[in-house]
Symmetry: C2
Subunit: 241 residues, 2 copies
């Protein structure tokens, strides 16, 4: 009873004795797919109250309820790091959202660049991927996924206190891996498969709060580059230190 193998993200507040009602999808998953019954242990988190051990109090086909027993993990917020990326093919976009969640991004911002083909994204579907990834990776936080925004407009309204690390494969190897050492709010920006346009690269290079970074001598796909850049940041400035 002390360990729950199933973790669910819920929207309700969590606290001692709190009853959490399940909506149809989660009831189907828990009782139909995973075949859990009354008394089964389940771990719950809602993104603000940490992780709680709960047990099933009512199990039905279309609904159910859990009772919170005790907190088993405090709430942990990720460092103040956003991931901006240009959506690519569907499967790889899903992967980027999943990976950004596992890697501890605080906010995920799909951006439309000059060479981005996508004109729209399914924000609700991407947000659901972030929830699933948080359930899977043991985190207690789910990064919000924004709707698609134009990179140019985002930069127009950008708070210069949040520095930008952008990956530029055109940098020469002598320019090395320019990973700054100063903390504070950051955003990583990953371009589309075709890279940034000349105009975008020039604009980014001129921003005093933007830093270019090179990710090795090979050209990485956008999903690989996202994980690599998040790794470098987390291991030097983030919660991997």
């Amino acid at each position: 009873m002390d360990t729950a193998k199933i973790r669910l993200h819920v929207e309700q507040p969590l606290g001692p004795g709190q009853t959490v009602r399940l909506e149809q999808g989660q009831a189907h998953y828990l009782f139909g797919v995973m075949r859990q019954g009354v008394g089964a242990p389940v771990a719950l988190f809602n993104g603000t109250d940490g992780e709680w051990l709960a047990e099933v109090a009512e199990a039905g086909k279309k609904a159910g309820a859990l009772t919170c027993l005790r907190q088993i993990q405090p709430q942990r917020m990720p460092p103040d790091l956003w991931l901006l990326f240009a959506p690519i093919k569907k499967a790889r976009t899903d992967f980027i959202v999943e990976k950004a969640t596992e890697m501890g991004a605080a906010r995920i911002c799909p951006v439309q660049t000059d060479f981005t083909n996508s004109e729209r994204i399914r924000q609700d579907r991407l947000q659901a991927h972030a929830v699933e990834a948080a359930e899977q990776c043991g985190g207690t936080f789910v990064p919000p996924v924004d709707d698609l925004a134009k990179l140019g407009r985002l930069l127009d309204a950008w708070d210069p206190a949040r520095r930008i690390l952008f990956c530029d494969e055109t940098l020469a190897s002598g320019e090395a891996l320019d990973m700054p050492r100063d903390g504070g709010p950051w955003a990583i920006l990953i371009g589309p498969e075709g890279g940034f346009s000349e105009a975008e690269r020039a604009r980014l290079a001129a921003l005093p709060h933007a830093h270019a970074m090179r990710l090795g001598p090979r050209i990485l796909r956008a999903d690989t580059a996202a994980v690599a850049a998040l790794t470098l940041w987390q291991s030097r400035l983030g919660d991997w230190v």
Copy 2:
């Protein structure tokens, strides 16, 4: 004529004036799918002779030939880093091979661990993924993909001069990111989704040439962990430095 947008991996030697015959699959891709004709520029690499600019000399439905003009990139070998990983679901296994190639692993070794479900892999299919990834990432080297081997047997016959970096999510945060700074041959070992067994963890911990590493406070999927571990190694000991 100076820039080729299409890169192909071929098996033949490359040199000035060298004729390279295409087999059916590549002829179909180049002439049928990509609609290239005689005189079109194509970049070729074979894993040993660097990258060559070539032009189409004959274009047929089932065959064709190219003539090498000049070398446009020297051969670049990756650092002596192997990636050992436990195969998981098909799509994610494909991704790991693709990512390991982009990230510059010199050899890819699928291993069967106590908690690995796969009993066989399609080595030929995984090798084809490595070739495709090399074509895509601009590298001139294709890492060989081994057939599935038992982790225990590999460790029995292991050369202790090749150190092993294994990812252990059970390490406490105080033990931090134990990334050694010494060069030479290395292998990164990524466990299956269920982690290593107690027996495997004990055996690895007892090996003087094995080092445990923690990849942050969240549990990473195997494909994410592979990219993260390769990033840390490449940025400190490899060809990203």
